[in-house]
């Protein structure tokens, strides 16, 4: 009896090898696909060392990345903290690509590798493949070859134009990375083959048509007909499609001084920023989904007798430290833990579907008691981002469990006021405020291009729509404006207008 029970185990010792890894993977896959109904990209699991993990960390988690000093800075920073023991390294890293690449640390035990495989190769993978944001905004098939293209392209530019010239453009582009995404408009799908072709053609065309003679022409000849010129300018403004929220896009298309290769660099930075934009909007859901999946799978594996008690205890130990949420007055507190919140919300959905209370029936009439928790979760994972997910599914029971409360911080007050707590009157306010905190688009400074006086001094006019009176860090703002100027070639001005009152709060310009 005992013998047949142990022979079912996927692995016995804590050491892993490729045979046990693949056996565990197959068992996990069966549960994930057949029982949870996940739909995933094919998986590719790569074993890496700690140093390679640090490398991956510092190049924003991409296996291929162009070279820039800021990644080196991040590396020194991470390495410093790692060596000092301030924090450990992640057990895994997963890339939204097709095939989905998961990095496993070589130092993990077999139990950890099992946990991580379930977490990343199925949880995250399913989320990447099915969530609407990722489906619309990123192209998992193309990203790896695009990254390869960009890396090679930038290396070639460095060879051709010198490292410092490339670095200067990248520095400026990085400064505008946050303003380099389309928030409301869907970007055109990127296809690398066409992309490369286009870049090459652009360069070739420029090279062929380049004539040194043009350079010698006097620049601003008197325009013969001012009215016609005026009309032309209006026309051009319309063509420029202002106002424009994506500064990098605008500069790439319309900058007056950039050379073709420099425009291509802006484009690369912009595409990468756009690629990561969905991840930032779905932190809670993504981690919650992965955590929920690994938790369900390891428990099923244990029920099936495929992992030993020791192994599941080890997994649960690391699971519980991952979903640990310190309270706000705890020295360890650093914001709400997305793993904890996401996992708790998804467990809560399962509970509401299976064992609803009368309160749940009031709050979630469409799912309470339906018993269809799998379908509900799959639907939520596919069709929500953090903001809408919290707004829809954060239950009063969970607010009570986390003892959430809402604190308002008015700029003129010496006090923060507790506006709502976990009681009948506070639930909706807490839920709405929490959801709003996860709306990345609303919380980032909204800076747009509003006007360019192409006829006059060609000054680029930017407008910052101030929400809730939140201004910009002045030193950083001025330095960033210098970067905009560097890319635009002429002076740049920024005006801060309060979105509610329409009053001008500040004005500044590069001189």
């Amino acid at each position: 009896m005992a013998k047949s029970a142990t022979s079912q185990l996927l692995f016995h010792s804590s050491d892993w090898n490729f045979k046990t890894l693949s056996r565990a993977y197959d068992a996990i896959e069966t549960i994930a696909l057949d029982e949870l109904g996940l739909n995933v990209y094919p998986n590719q699991l790569e074993i890496i060392s700690a140093e390679q993990m640090l490398d991956a960390y510092s190049s924003v988690g991409m296996p291929l990345m162009y070279q820039h000093w800021s990644f080196g800075k991040r590396f020194v920073f991470e390495e410093h903290h790692y060596r000092k023991g301030h924090h450990g390294l992640a057990y895994e890293l997963v890339i939204n690509s097709n095939p989905c690449i998961t990095y496993l640390m070589e130092g993990n035990t077999m139990a950890m590798q099992t946990l991580v495989t379930a977490h990343a190769s199925f949880g995250h993978n399913h989320f990447f493949k099915n969530n609407y944001l990722f489906r619309q905004w990123t192209d998992a098939n193309a990203i790896l070859s695009y990254m390869e293209f960009s890396k090679k392209y930038i290396a070639k530019c460095e060879e051709r134009h010198g490292t410092s010239a490339v670095e200067a453009i990248l520095d400026s582009a990085h400064a505008l990375m946050e303003q380099g995404v389309f928030r409301s408009r869907r970007p055109p799908r990127l296809s690398t083959k066409k992309e490369q072709e286009r870049a090459r053609e652009r360069l070739e065309y420029e090279e062929q048509t380049y004539s040194d003679l043009w350079r010698t022409l006097p620049r601003s000849a008197e325009r013969p007909n001012p009215e016609e010129a005026e009309r032309e300018a209006l026309e051009r403004k319309k063509v420029l499609n202002l106002p424009e929220e994506n500064l990098l896009y605008f500069l790439e298309k319309n900058s007056l001084i950039l050379e073709p290769w420099q425009r291509e660099l802006l484009r690369i930075v912009r595409v990468i920023a756009q690629y990561f934009y969905p991840q930032r909007q779905t932190k809670v859901m993504n981690e919650g989904c992965a955590t929920f999946v690994h938790y369900t799978i390891i428990n099923r594996l244990f029920d099936q007798g495929k992992i030993s008690e020791g192994a599941i205890l080890e997994m649960l130990h690391s699971h519980s430290s991952v979903v640990f949420q310190p309270t706000f007055d705890d020295p360890r507190y650093s914001g709400i833990n997305p793993y904890a919140l996401g996992f708790a919300m998804m467990q809560e959905i399962e509970r509401i579907c299976n064992n609803p209370t009368s309160e749940d029936r009031d709050w979630f009439p469409h799912i309470a008691g339906s018993g269809q928790w799998r379908e509900t979760l799959l639907d939520a994972w596919a069709n929500h981002r953090d903001e809408s997910f919290i707004l829809q599914y954060l239950s009063p029971a969970l607010i009570r469990k986390f003892r959430l409360f809402l604190l308002t911080d008015q700029r003129n007050e010496k006090y923060c006021e507790v506006a709502a707590i976990h009681n009948e009157r506070g639930y909706r306010a807490v839920r709405a405020a929490l959801a709003k905190n996860y709306d990345i688009g609303a919380n980032q400074p909204d800076v747009q291009v509003v006007d360019v006086d192409l006829l006059g001094d060609r000054q680029l006019r930017l407008r910052h729509n101030i929400k809730n009176g939140i201004l910009l860090e002045e030193k950083e703002r001025d330095a960033t404006l210098q970067h905009v100027r560097h890319l635009w070639g002429y002076d740049v001005s920024l005006i801060g207008i309060d979105a509610e009152t329409g009053k001008v709060r500040y004005e500044c310009a590069t001189a």
């Binding site: 074993i47 140093e51 390679q52 070589e106 709400i336 911080d409 506006a419 009157r425 860090e473 002045e474």
Partner: protein, 438 residues
């Protein structure tokens, strides 16, 4: 079935290029700040403090970022215990602090400061600086040796025989030459003894005994011919005498403390000495410092007295040089010590003593010194007049003659703190190989 790839054997240091780019950037930044530190007034801090935070200037990554202290915000926090709606929490208190961290976005990374060790700071500080006469004479005629194992030799003293190596050689030779073993000889001897013990021997046995005796005889002869240990087997441990570089330096600080040297002059002189000391510390394991101050008579004092106590009197520079010569003779034989000297003065001297100083330097001192730097501290107004001319105080003119003769003698003028570092660099700049003292 998933696709497993073992990446551990991939080439390492994927981000080496990035790191190199970053360090290059940081290095330029650091060099700039350190230069400024030296120019203003914090060189003593550089020596004392072990770490320097990295300036964030050029490695900063600015973005449009919400200002922390503006606007209305709402935070949702976990772990409410006693609050009810309407409660107020002071902003600086725990609640506000927690709230602040809840709202910050990506705050950590730019607060990060890059810490350099003192060594690295000094390396940056002294970049391109090279002691003028680094290949010290005593390096060649090294005074101390340390034996170091260096393989094996076929000759040597019996105490150094390497038994293991010797026996291995002997064993190999014995096998190669088929030296009969002790056991074979004994077995043969025993058989002979048995035959001899028998009372009556027939012919065949007698013949056999005869054959055995001959064989034994042959074996024993062979054993005698092929010795157990032959002189060619013997190996000795070989030692090499490794010269120990002379890592001791002594630095003489000479200063005029007569009333003509004011607070400003002393301060400038001190800075120069500090720089020199820092510089030497990087090169030598052990550095002794000797402070000699002089008015119309010279004396060795400790550092505090040297810099901070005043003494009145006239000025006779040669007394200090004589004192230095005495101390070298007594305590710092030039064979064992690298001798550096730095003299600071305002150039005042009693008449005709300057020539005496030059004579002492030319006669004895310059032969002993590795390097001698003379710094004349002048009034700021005098800079224009004396800029680069040979004109000047009597001491300056006398020392010019020394300067011409000895490549390891350097002299210069300082008027402002900001002059010191450039001057120091000039004095210690990498120079074409200099003549050794003969």
């Amino acid at each position: 079935m998933p696709n497993f790839i073992d990446r551990r054997l991939n080439p390492k240091d994927k981000s080496l290029g990035n790191r190199r780019r970053f360090l290059k950037r940081a290095r330029e930044e650091l060099k700039r700040t350190i230069k400024e530190h030296v120019k203003t007034d914090r060189i003593a801090d550089v020596d004392a403090g072990h770490k320097v935070p990295m300036p964030v200037g050029g490695s900063n990554e600015p973005t449009f970022r919400p200002a922390r202290d503006s606007g209305d915000r709402e935070y949702v926090l976990p772990g409410n215990r006693e609050y009810t709606p309407g409660d107020r929490i002071e902003k600086q208190g725990g609640g506000g602090g927690g709230a602040g961290s809840g709202a910050g976005t990506g705050k950590d990374e730019d607060d990060f400061q890059f810490l350099l060790s003192r060594e690295e700071v000094l390396d940056l500080f002294f970049e391109d600086l090279e002691l003028p006469d680094m290949i010290k004479l005593s390096l060649k005629e090294a005074v101390a040796f340390k034996p170091r194992r260096a393989g094996f030799a076929t000759s040597g003293s019996p105490t150094n025989i390497n038994v293991g190596r010797t026996m291995r050689n002997s064993y190999g030779r014995r096998i190669a030459l088929h030296r009969p073993g002790r056991k074979a000889v004994e077995a043969l001897a025993e058989e002979i003894a048995q035959l001899e013990a028998e009372m009556s021997l027939d012919t065949s046995k007698r013949q056999r005994l005869q054959a055995l005796r001959e064989e034994l005889d042959g074996l024993e002869r062979r054993r005698r011919r092929i010795p157990y240990v032959d002189p060619v087997d013997i190996r000795f441990n070989r030692f090499e005498r490794q010269p120990l570089p002379n890592a001791n330096a002594v630095m003489f600080c000479l200063m005029d403390v007569s009333s003509s040297m004011g607070e400003r002059e002393k301060d400038l002189a001190k800075r120069f000495f500090v720089l020199l000391h820092l510089f030497l510390k990087r090169r030598y394991d052990r550095i002794d410092m000797v402070f000699i101050r002089h008015t119309d008579e010279a004396g060795e004092v400790d550092e505090d007295t040297f810099f901070y106590s005043t003494q009145s009197g006239g000025t006779v520079v040669s007394t200090a040089l004589e004192e230095m010569l005495n101390i070298i003779r007594e305590r710092y034989p030039a064979k064992e010590w690298n001798i550096y000297a730095a003299q600071a003065s305002d150039g005042d001297n009693i008449p005709r003593d300057s020539e005496r100083c030059a004579a002492i330097l030319n006669g004895a001192l310059m032969r002993l010194c590795q390097y001698y730097a003379y710094v004349e501290i002048i009034d700021e107004r005098e800079t224009e007049i004396f800029g680069s001319t040979d004109n000047g105080t009597s001491l300056w003119r006398a020392y010019r003659t020394v300067d011409d003769k000895w490549p390891n003698f350097q002299m210069t003028r300082i008027a402002r703190p900001s002059d010191i570092y450039p001057v120091f660099r000039k004095l210690f700049a990498r120079q074409p190989t200099m003549q050794f003292r003969s």
